[in-house]
Structure formats: structure tokens, C-alpha cells
């Protein structure tokens, strides 16, 4: 297999800068934690239409990958583009050459699947196989090879159009139930930012200077530096003290398998690193508990939406206090 070459992505596509996204704290936290520690296993953003899920993912990728958009697996993708296939142009020139698929292109990066619940079943199966083993095995068209493909899977979906299979749900380290708050001040600020961005982008396209966008770019760069610092600090954060708590929470929420408690511990550690703390505490666990556990509860099999209530938060605090 050829080494994945970075995809050329036009930089002229207007994507709202990440620092201009107002609210959506859980969504932003999940993306940032997955960046600090890719081993978390990816993020699923589930929410109703128009809540800015796709914009947030593109903005985040653009921020952390120097203006590049994420490697995107669209719902129109065919199998050969996902796992790779012969380059047709080269084949016609009697020069057989293998062309890598998106899974390899996304190596050590973010693989974004928009409308993941609308993806064709056999493509979902391929992703499941790769995320389960961390290896891409190609055995088709006379090609037989395998290689490691570590990537951070980020999916967005609208639960109105059906849910995901439990096996695929479990592959996502964190899940966010994206909602738009009813706080009118926040809502107003969101509208302001989006409309101002429209105007300022037009200005920039005309070659004029935009202070508004320059400031946003500056804020983005600062955040990336913070996240990179957290990435480096991650290994130094001590997580031992909260491990029993992670197990207790996974048991209390009837999470199946061990993945839930592992992800919870990693997420708490990443959050502590982000907060520049030497040790993960119960407070860190409480913040990330819903992200790590909500989609692994038995109730999720009966519903397309993860429901995390105030009672669940109370239960988390009870377990923390009881421990």
C-alpha cells in the first residue's frame, strides 16, 4: 500500500472559526478530549437539524490541522474509496497502481462521517472491522495486505432518521447529545457571529482586511497551543485515584463490557490535562461521565437518542459521594 498522501483541500471554503462557536460546551469538550487523547476512540455527535454539528467538526479540524478540512467519508462513498482500489486512470495506461482509501488517508487524523446513520450497511461493516482491530485488511482485486490505521472517528447524525447499531455505537469513545440552549443571550450571540462571519468573509474574499476574522484566527491558534500542551501533559496526569470511581459508575449505569470504564478513565485524564491539573479527580470524572456512558446503557438499544437526565447527574454525584 502506498503511503497516504494528504488530500488537497480548497482553503476558500467558508467555515466558521472554532472560537466563534458559542455554547455547545459538551460538543467542544468531546472534540478537544479526542484530540488530546486519540485513543479515546472517536466522538459521535447526535442532535436535531440545524444545531451546528457539522460546522463544529469542520471548524475544529480546520483549527487543529492548519486550515485543512477533515478527511470526510460522505454517504455517497463506494467501497473502493473507503478501503482503496486500483487507480483507474493508471490502469487504462497499462500501469496498475494502487490508490489508498479514506481509511488510510485519515491515518493519525480525524475521519469525519457526516450523517453516519445514513451510511450504507456494508460501509458501516468495514468501519466496524477497522475500528475493532485498528488494522485495515485489504483482500480484494488481487491485493492482499494489512496495515495499522489509527484514526479518530467523528460521526454526526440526526436521530430522526434512525439510530446506529449498538456495535458501532460502542466504537465511539464519547457521545454528545447536541441541543441548542434556550438561553436567549447565547442564541443572539450565535446569530450575530454567523451573520457577521458572512459579511466579514465576503470582505476577505474581496481582499479587504477583516479584524473580526483575524481575532478569531488568533483565538483559534491560542486554543490549539493549549490543546497541544495538554497532549504533552496527558502522560503525566495521575489517574489512579479515580479508577475505582470509574468502575463504580460503569456498574451503576449498567454499562455492558469494559470499554465504558476505560473510556471514562481516559476522558477524565484528558480533561485533567486540559485543565492543567497533575491528577484526575472526581470532579473531572463527573464532567465527562455523560459523554462516556450515555450511549452504552441498555436503554439506548430501545431508542435512537441517548437520554441523560438531571437524575443521572444526581446519580453520578451520589456514587462519587458514596465512594
Amino acid at each position: 500500500m502506498a503511503k497516504a498522501t494528504p488530500k488537497t483541500v480548497p482553503t476558500t471554503i467558508p467555515v466558521l472559526p472554532y472560537s466563534l462557536i458559542v455554547g455547545q460546551e459538551s460538543l467542544k469538550l468531546a472534540l478537544e478530549l479526542a484530540y488530546i487523547m486519540p485513543r479515546l476512540g472517536g466522538v459521535l455527535l447526535s442532535g436535531h437539524r440545524g444545531t451546528g454539528k457539522s460546522t463544529a467538526v469542520r471548524a475544529f479540524a480546520q483549527m487543529v490541522y492548519n486550515g485543512e478540512l477533515p478527511v470526510t467519508l460522505p454517504i455517497n462513498a463506494t467501497e473502493d474509496r473507503v478501503i482503496g482500489g486500483w487507480d483507474i486512470k493508471e490502469m487504462l495506461q497499462k500501469n496498475p497502481k494502487w490508490k489508498d482509501g479514506l481509511l488510510l488517508e485519515a491515518r493519525n487524523k480525524l475521519l469525519y462521517v457526516d450523517e453516519i446513520n445514513l451510511l450504507d450497511d456494508h460501509i458501516v461493516n468495514i468501519i466496524l472491522d477497522v475500528t475493532a482491530t485498528g488494522k485495515l485488511v485489504v483482500a480484494r482485486d488481487g491485493q492482499s495486505e494489512s496495515c495499522d490505521v489509527p484514526f479518530t472517528l467523528v460521526g454526526t447524525m440526526n436521530p430522526e432518521e434512525g439510530g446506529l447499531r449498538p456495535q458501532l455505537l460502542d466504537r465511539f469513545g464519547l457521545m454528545v447529545n447536541v441541543t441548542t440552549g434556550s438561553d436567549s443571550i447565547n442564541r443572539l450571540q450565535i446569530l450575530k457571529n454567523v451573520l457577521t462571519f458572512d459579511d466579514e468573509w465576503t470582505k476577505r474574499e474581496r481582499g479587504e482586511k477583516s479584524v473580526f476574522l483575524d481575532q478569531a484566527d488568533k483565538a483559534d491558534r491560542q486554543l490549539v497551543r493549549q490543546l497541544q500542551g495538554a497532549q504533552k501533559r496527558f502522560r503525566q496526569v495521575n489517574v489512579d485515584a479515580v479508577l475505582p470511581l470509574c468502575v463504580a459508575l460503569a456498574t451503576e449505569f449498567e454499562v455492558e463490557g469494559n470499554r465504558g470504564e476505560r473510556v471514562l478513565a481516559i476522558a477524565a485524564r484528558a480533561y485533567a490535562a486540559k485543565e492543567n491539573q497533575p491528577e484526575a479527580t472526581a470532579k473531572h470524572v463527573a464532567v465527562v461521565a455523560s459523554l462516556a456512558l450515555q450511549h452504552r446503557r441498555p436503554a439506548m438499544a430501545q431508542s435512537n437518542e441517548a437520554i441523560w437526565t438531571d437524575e443521572d447527574d444526581d446519580l453520578v454525584h451520589q456514587v462519587i459521594e458514596g465512594g
Binding site: I13, L191, V194
Partner: protein, 630 residues
């Protein structure tokens, strides 16, 4: 996929005040609004609108704009692209042919004449492309990422909205009504049409005035004021809208409206105008505020205007005169009622009907349908794409040959035979088709006999069968309440039991009449149609009848929807048995009568089962303590 060519004499579009023209003009200068949904428009209006919009866009962008039509037959290959024979055979015989929506940043207007009839791949493409900052294509060795520059114009009847995915509808930022444009003198319109067209086609031209306005507004900028933002939020504060798309669309429309007014700032009045354009109701708080303002204006005008004073004096005198003629006595006590605002504006049509209609679409309607047997395909059902084949059924020959063509150069090097075409089994491609159910559950439910029996528990096993077998369902409701024709049964059909209207249909309450014969007749017609007509895909029918057999409406009366003039006696029952005998003649029908075990006429369900040649299953009665006594 047809491209429309319109020729002939022109008709200038003058009236900017027409909501449709105004909406399209706003969408022309505001790219974020370039996904327009027109409700209840006739095909000619939509076609005219498409042509107008193409011209408006051509004028403002100074580029050639083409229109592309999407319909019910578009497949993934036709939309996104595929490998085809090269037109210029030089180095290679095949080229990647971009699809209708494929890798192309050129400005195009995508016209969808009827959104409710769009093919599944096209609906999925709409979800991917409309409103997205970037488009991605990853198909058959082809990879592309581009800034999509498509403008969408779709028509849809309000009646059909309940069958559409709200997720799909939400992609359309600007909602307009096609009805206003129809409200004109039809005779004059017909006369004009005859006088201007000699070849039954006509072109719509933009008037110079409109052209000037467009060009001027295109260059203009209008920043949104704080009060406009507040007003925009007030309009949609009470809707159950979770995202921000509607607020943004309203504000962007207001911004465009302000640019047409040649103002540099978008005010609350522009938001009001924009809301009026799409048919958004003004919130009652804003209406109250507006009334107060109007009242104070009138009062201040009264103070200054002599003429008005005179008029007011005259009115007062008249009132006094009337009062003198009709004595009025004061009440002994007064009650102060809470003030209520009376809406004096005409009612507008909601631009977001999906919020209020009942959901009747298929479950997970934007997903590719699941398949029972991957190894075989019935070779029926609309084509939705091409896929690799492992068995030689329903082969898509052109796609297979094109697939093999990619490898001919390499294969001919390694193969000594002189064969012009070397085909491998991995080249085989077959059509991917939407699933057509092969089984049908027909359920005749007599709602007047359901009291005091555990019918839901018994029925559940049949519904489960339908779910497992992916059978379509036909529910025939006999004797329901709140029905316009109570002497007739009602039929509900759906592709699967998961469709919400089936669930809603099962929960109807009982009415007074029992048109059992008509219900069975509807079942008979449905079965005949599904089993015997055309290229029907139904292979097996499960007919489940839940009734105590006590039909009390003769078939003839049901058909004419006339109340019987004389005593019915057993005619309703006998008619039902007679239709049941006819159903018995049909092959491939497995019938079951669910017997609610009535207190009286216990033999009727058994006679019905005998007439149908059906099995009989008794429904256990509810225990007395389980029955809700009134």
C-alpha cells in the same frame, strides 16, 4: 433529468411585489438563501420560477447559469457520476463523466418539480449538499472535494409534507407559496397566453426595472441592527425549532430586503417584511405593540387634523343619535374580563408545515432499504444504483462492461488469447433496487367489537410477523368514530408496520355503524389488485379479520353512502358473508378470523370464518376487573 428548453415570445416579469418574484430576487443576491421550497405551485409556475431565477442569477453573477431537473428516476450514478465512453478517443477509451450534481463548482439551478416524488438517491444527495459548506465525492476510484455552487428550487404540495422527512425539508432555507401567483384573472391569463404564444412555449424575460434593482441590490451591503436581531428571534421564539436555520434564513431574507431598499442597515421593519414574505405569523406580543403604536398615531393625527376632527364629531353625533333612539340600561354589576387581542390580519400559511402535520412517512426514510436476501434480487423495484454482483441475476450490462474495460489493457498483457474482451466474475455489476414487499398483511378491524377483549395482545403476533417479513400492510377500519362517511370502511396502506399512521389507525375509537360488508369488499378489491394486476410483487397475503360478524350496513348502502330507508335485518351480515365467499376464491391468501367471543350471536364469527375458509383464533375476554367501567 430532462433539461428544459423554452423558446417563443417573451413575457416580462414586472411585479417585484409578487412574493414569489421577490423571494427569488432575494435568494439571488443572498447565497445562503439559495435553497427555495415553493408550496402548492403548479408545474408551469415552478417552471417559470426556475427560468426567472436562472436569468436573475445570470445577471448578477455575469456567468451562464444552467438548470438541471431532478425526478423520481435518478440513481446514484446519474447524480454523482460514473465511468463512460470517452468522446475524444485519444489515449484512453473511457472518461469519468461527472453526474448532475457531481464535481462541478459552476453555478446551476437544480429544479425538483415535486419533492415528494424525488428518488431516494436524490433525497440523500439533497441532504449531503444543500446548505453544506463543502461537497465530497468518493465513488468508483474518483475523489473530489469542492465548494458546491448549486441553487435549489423545489415544489411540494402541503398535503404531501407529512410523507417527507423533516430533515430533508429543513435543508430548504426559503419557503414561499406558489398560490399567490395563481390568484389572478384566469380568463385574462388565458387570453394573454393565446395572444402571445404561437408555439405553445414561452420565455419569461426580466423587466429592465427589475434588472436594475437586482444589480443595484447585489452591490449593496446592509448590516443587521440589534433590533432586527431581536425581532428575528421574537418571530421564532415559540416554534419548536431546535436549530438556528430558521432564524438565520429570516434575518438573511430581511438583509436582502434591506439591500433592495438601498439601505445600509437592516431594521426590524425589514424583518417584518421578510416574515410577511414567507408567511410567518407575527407573534401576538408584536401585534399588540403594533396596535398600540397605530392607535397612538391615529390619536396624534386626530389632534392635528381638522378634517378628521370633523369626521370624528360627525361619528359621535351619529352615535349619540342612535343612543337616543335605543335606550340602553346599565347592568347591575360589572365583570372585568381579561383583555384579548383580536387578530385582524388575514391568516397566513405556515412556512414550516412539518411542525404541525402528523408524521406519515416511512421510518428511517432516507436510509437505503434493508435486504432480506443478499444473494438474490427480484429484478423489480425502482433502480437506485449499481453494486457488485456475486450471482448472474439482474445484471447491469453497461456497468459490467465498463468495469471490465478498466482492466482490459492489463489483462491483455497477461492473457495469450486474442479475445477482444476478457470478463472476470469480479466485473459483474447488478442493479441495486428499492425493495418491493413480497408479503402483505391485510387487517380488517371491526372497532365496534373490541370492547372487553384482549385484542391487542392477539394482534401483536401478526404485526410482528409483518415486521419480520418486511411485509407491507393494509389496515381496513370498520366502524370507527370521527369519520366523514360513517357507513363506509376506511383503508390505510403503508410500506411497513413501522409507519406511524398504522399505529395511529389501530388506536381509533369505535363509532356507531358497522359497515363490515364494505370493509371486506375493500379487502377483496385490494387483494385482487395486489395479487392479480400488472407486475405485482406480492406473493403471499395474510388476511386477518377481527370482527364479531355483526355487520349492520348493507353493502349497497355503504357504496352509495346512503342511510337505509327500511329495516336492515340481516342484510349487512349476509352481504359480509357473500363477500367473504369471494375472498375464499383467491389463491395465495391465508385467512384468520380473530373471534372476540361476543355474548350474543356467538355463531357469526364462526360462520364468517367458514365463508372465508379461514382459521379461527379466539381472543381471551378481559377479566371484569380489567374493564374500565364508566
Amino acid at each position: 433529468m430532462a433539461r428544459v428548453t423554452i423558446s417563443g415570445k417573451s413575457q416580462p416579469a414586472e411585479n417585484f411585489q409578487q412574493p414569489l418574484i421577490q423571494g427569488l430576487a432575494c435568494a439571488t443576491i443572498q447565497p445562503s438563501l439559495r435553497s427555495v421550497l415553493i408550496f402548492d405551485s403548479s408545474p408551469p409556475i415552478l417552471q417559470t420560477a426556475a427560468e426567472l431565477w436562472v436569468k436573475m442569477l445570470s445577471v448578477t453573477t455575469q456567468t451562464e447559469v444552467k438548470s438541471v431537473y431532478l425526478g423520481s428516476a435518478d440513481t446514484e450514478e446519474s447524480l454523482w457520476g460514473s465511468l463512460t465512453l470517452s468522446h475524444t478517443y485519444k489515449n484512453q477509451p473511457f472518461d469519468w463523466q461527472s453526474g448532475l450534481l457531481g464535481n462541478n463548482s459552476a453555478l446551476r439551478v437544480i429544479v425538483i418539480p415535486d419533492l415528494s416524488r424525488i428518488s431516494l438517491p436524490a433525497a440523500r444527495a439533497c441532504i449531503s449538499l444543500i446548505g453544506s459548506e463543502v461537497a465530497h465525492l468518493e465513488r468508483h476510484g474518483h475523489q473530489a472535494c469542492w465548494k458546491s455552487n448549486l441553487c435549489w428550487l423545489a415544489g411540494c404540495s402541503r398535503e404531501q409534507v407529512k410523507f417527507l422527512s423533516p430533515h430533508l425539508l429543513d435543508r430548504f432555507a426559503l419557503r414561499l407559496s406558489g398560490q399567490n401567483s395563481q390568484a389572478c384573472d384566469h380568463t385574462t391569463a388565458l387570453r394573454n397566453w393565446f395572444s402571445t404564444s404561437n408555439n405553445f412555449t414561452q420565455t419569461v424575460e426580466l423587466s429592465n426595472k427589475l434588472l436594475q434593482r437586482l444589480q443595484s441590490a447585489h452591490r449593496k451591503e446592509a448590516h443587521i441592527s440589534k433590533e432586527a436581531l431581536d425581532r428575528g428571534m421574537a418571530y421564532l421564539a415559540k416554534s419548536n425549532n431546535q436549530g438556528f436555520r430558521r432564524e438565520l434564513a429570516l434575518l438573511r431574507l430581511a438583509q436582502a430586503r434591506a439591500r433592495f431598499s438601498e439601505l445600509s442597515e437592516t431594521t426590524a421593519q425589514h424583518v417584518d417584511l421578510a416574515a410577511g414574505l414567507i408567511g410567518l405569523e407575527k407573534p401576538s406580543e408584536l401585534l399588540y405593540e403594533q396596535t398600540l403604536n397605530t392607535r397612538s398615531q391615529i390619536l396624534s393625527r386626530d389632534d392635528t387634523s381638522e378634517g378628521n376632527n370633523t369626521l370624528a364629531r360627525e361619528n359621535k353625533e351619529k352615535t349619540t343619535e342612535t343612543n337616543r333612539l335605543q335606550p340602553v340600561y346599565p347592568s347591575d354589576s360589572t365583570i372585568e374580563l381579561p383583555s384579548e387581542f383580536i387578530k385582524i390580519h388575514e391568516s397566513k400559511q405556515d412556512p414550516y408545515p412539518e411542525d404541525s402535520v402528523s408524521t406519515e412517512r416511512e421510518a428511517a426514510s432516507l436510509r437505503f432499504p434493508p435486504r432480506h436476501f443478499y444473494q438474490s434480487t427480484p429484478g423489480r423495484g425502482p433502480i437506485i444504483g449499481i453494486e457488485p454482483a456475486t450471482m448472474p441475476y439482474d445484471i447491469a450490462w453497461v456497468s459490467t462492461l465498463l468495469e471490465s474495460a478498466k482492466y482490459q489493457a492489463v489483462r491483455s498483457k497477461t492473457n495469450s488469447s486474442k479475445s477482444p474482451l476478457i470478463l472476470h466474475s469480479t466485473d459483474l455489476r447488478r442493479y441495486r433496487r428499492a425493495i418491493e414487499p413480497e408479503q402483505l398483511l391485510t387487517l380488517v378491524l371491526d372497532y365496534t367489537c373490541l370492547k372487553n377483549c384482549q385484542w391487542k395482545e392477539v394482534l401483536l403476533s401478526y404485526l410482528q410477523w409483518a415486521y419480520i417479513e418486511r411485509a407491507s400492510i393494509c389496515l381496513i377500519q370498520v366502524g370507527i368514530a370521527r369519520i366523514s362517511k360513517e357507513l363506509q370502511a376506511k383503508k390505510i396502506t403503508a410500506q411497513s408496520v413501522l409507519v406511524p399512521r398504522v399505529q395511529a389507525g389501530l388506536n381509533e375509537s369505535a363509532g356507531l355503524a358497522t359497515p363490515l360488508a364494505h370493509g371486506l369488499d375493500l379487502a377483496l378489491q385490494t387483494l385482487r389488485h395486489d395479487l392479480q394486476h400488472g407486475r405485482s410483487t406480492v406473493r403471499q397475503v395474510m388476511l386477518v379479520i377481527l370482527s364479531d360478524g355483526r355487520g349492520n350496513v348493507p353493502l349497497e348502502n355503504s357504496r352509495k353512502n346512503e342511510k337505509p330507508n327500511q329495516l336492515v335485518n340481516r342484510r349487512g351480515i349476509e352481504d359480509a358473508l357473500s363477500v367473504a365467499e369471494q375472498i375464499r376464491q383467491l389463491k395465495q391468501v391465508e385467512a384468520v378470523v380473530l373471534n372476540p367471543q361476543p355474548k350474543y350471536c356467538k355463531d357469526l364469527p364462526i360462520r364468517l370464518a367458514q365463508a372465508l375458509g379461514a382459521k379461527i383464533e379466539n381472543i381471551p375476554s378481559l377479566k371484569s376487573w380489567e374493564v374500565n367501567e364508566p
